[in-house]
Amino acid sequence: MIRRKGVWITLFILPCMVLFAFVYAAPIVTVAATSLTRYTAFEKPAFTGFANFKTIFGDKDFLISVKNTVVWVLLQTTLHVSVGLVMALMLHRKPKGWKFTRTVYLIPNIIPTAATGIMFTLLLNPTFGVIKDLFAFLGVSGPVPNLLGNSKYAFWAVTATWIFYSAFNTVIFLAELSAVNKDIYEAAAIDGATPSQVDRHINLPILKNAVGTCVILASVAMVSQFDIIYMTTRGGPGTSTLNLPVYLYKAMLLENNYGKANAVGVVQIILGVSLVLAIRRLFRSGDGRKTALN
């Protein structure tokens, strides 16, 4: 019925796949191949086997960056998603002002992450930031600590810039809950279920798949978290906020060591994929709704 169907299919797929190959496929192959070479901004790739991997796994800074990345993934997939979940269960009860709260809560997630980075740098500045007045108000004497500039606090100060801002998750959970047949809630109300029982026995089981999706998204986001760290601490002081993306960035553009950077890229991809596979295993259930991610 359709003339030359095969030709049309090819023509329709081609532009998308060409761009895809140029920006994703070809670079991935290049990264994998050149991770096995000595390759810098000034010399062409020369095969060296696993030398780059030996170098990075022998580098304490690299191991710390892996550790920080994994800790951030763990915090984000648990605490961050839970914050979003609690917010959604709360707002789903439709208390007065729930729509306003949802809108306002989304604002920190909508603005550029670079702006979030600057805002927290300003807020936490010991000379003129709100932190100074806060310490004065609390009656703490002595110099105000520089939370982002002190390796004792920097990791947690950076974490605080994103861990509570879970509105994307909240919105996903709310949408999932609003699609539920209202009869269930009526039946629960007739049976005398309290709101927290409704949450525990109806809402949480319903949200299982959505939680799985959000946990995967949170994990992917943390494996490639860069913007805020770059704007606030650049991985410092020392290595206290160094993670894989920042380590890779430094290897590539500060050391000009492309082979090393791409070895880090390979590790980053493997780490990301293994985390997602592990999470999928954790959330797997027979009747799970299929999405692209889980």
């Binding site: 049309w8 299919i9 895809f20 920006v23 007065k96 809108t103 709100v130």
Partner: protein, 275 residues
């Protein structure tokens, strides 16, 4: 119903905390942006004695911020258009027809959703330098158009699934060709899906930082998020202007969000559930 009311004070307290942590930082930056340098230094929480626009004047003076906005608008606008065009075609045939490469295409695009941006950045950096598109708008447009493919593909793919195939069959019987049927019958029906992809693309690339950072070096292609990085180093000592710069860069995003919030929220949810 009764028990619902009992818990309300606690819920409202938590909502208040949420509103506070969401708005307090930006409100503080907004108020401080009208204070003088010495006012900012003397007390963080005081109000400006008389609101001054000097910081805004400085922000405009030391960096061509309008130019950055224009760069961002051009780059984001064209990228959204390219992604919509190529993905609407690719997702259409992939969702409608069976062919050998179909599972491969779906698997590849799904896998790329998980790809950390930094991991592929060195080859892109080198290729772009070799092709002379480093530090150009075209370079960023290419990357951003491609970055939009995975999410947009799955949104469009599932949207086409909701359009009954009978509509196209009727068009073929009327003698319309393949492309005409797609462009005049299918695409108009898929408008809501396209709107979703456009909004998601806008949010993602208007705020995109990493590629803008490594693929630009001058004012020619610098986008708004990178302008913030530039301000951060330029105003290291004159930080009162930094407050104004932050407000100037976040205000358009917030205004866009407030006016389009229903569409934005719908897009975010369909993007996550389908992507």
């Amino acid at each position: 119903m009764k028990s619902k009311k009992k818990r309300t004070p606690f819920i409202h307290f938590l909502m208040l905390v949420t509103v506070f942590i969401s708005l307090a930082p930006i409100t503080w930056v907004f108020i401080s942006s009208f204070k003088t340098y010495s006012e900012i230094n003397s007390s963080a929480l005081s109000l400006p004695a008389s609101p001054s626009f000097k910081n805004y004047a400085a922000a405009f003076k030391y960096a061509p911020i309008l130019k950055y906005f224009l760069n961002s608008a051009v780059i984001v606008g064209i990228s959204i258009f390219i992604t919509a065009a190529i993905v609407s075609m690719c997702a259409y045939v992939t969702s409608r027809f069976r062919f050998k490469l179909k599972p491969v295409i779906i698997a590849l695009i799904a896998a790329s959703l998980l790809l950390p941006a930094q991991s592929v950045s060195q080859p892109l950096f080198s290729i772009f330098t070799a092709l002379n598109i480093f530090d150009t708008k075209i370079g960023l447009i290419l990357v951003y158009s491609a970055m939009g493919i995975p999410m947009s593909f799955f949104v469009m793919f599932s949207y086409y699934m909701t359009i009954p195939a009978e509509i196209e069959e009727a068009a073929y019987i009327d003698g319309a060709g393949f492309f005409r049927t797609f462009a005049t019958v299918v695409l108009p029906l898929a408008k809501p899906g396209l709107a979703t992809t456009a909004i998601l693309q806008f949010i993602n690339i208007w705020n995109e930082f990493y590629f803008a950072l490594i693929l630009t070096s001058g004012d020619r292609a610098r986008t708004v998020p990178i302008a913030l990085n530039y301000y951060m180093s330029t105003f290291a000592n004159n930080y009162s202007a930094l407050f104004a710069a932050v407000i100037l860069t976040v205000a358009p995003t917030i205004l866009f969000f407030i006016t389009m919030q229903k569409q934005v929220i719908d897009s975010l949810t369909s993007g996550a559930v389908k992507g």
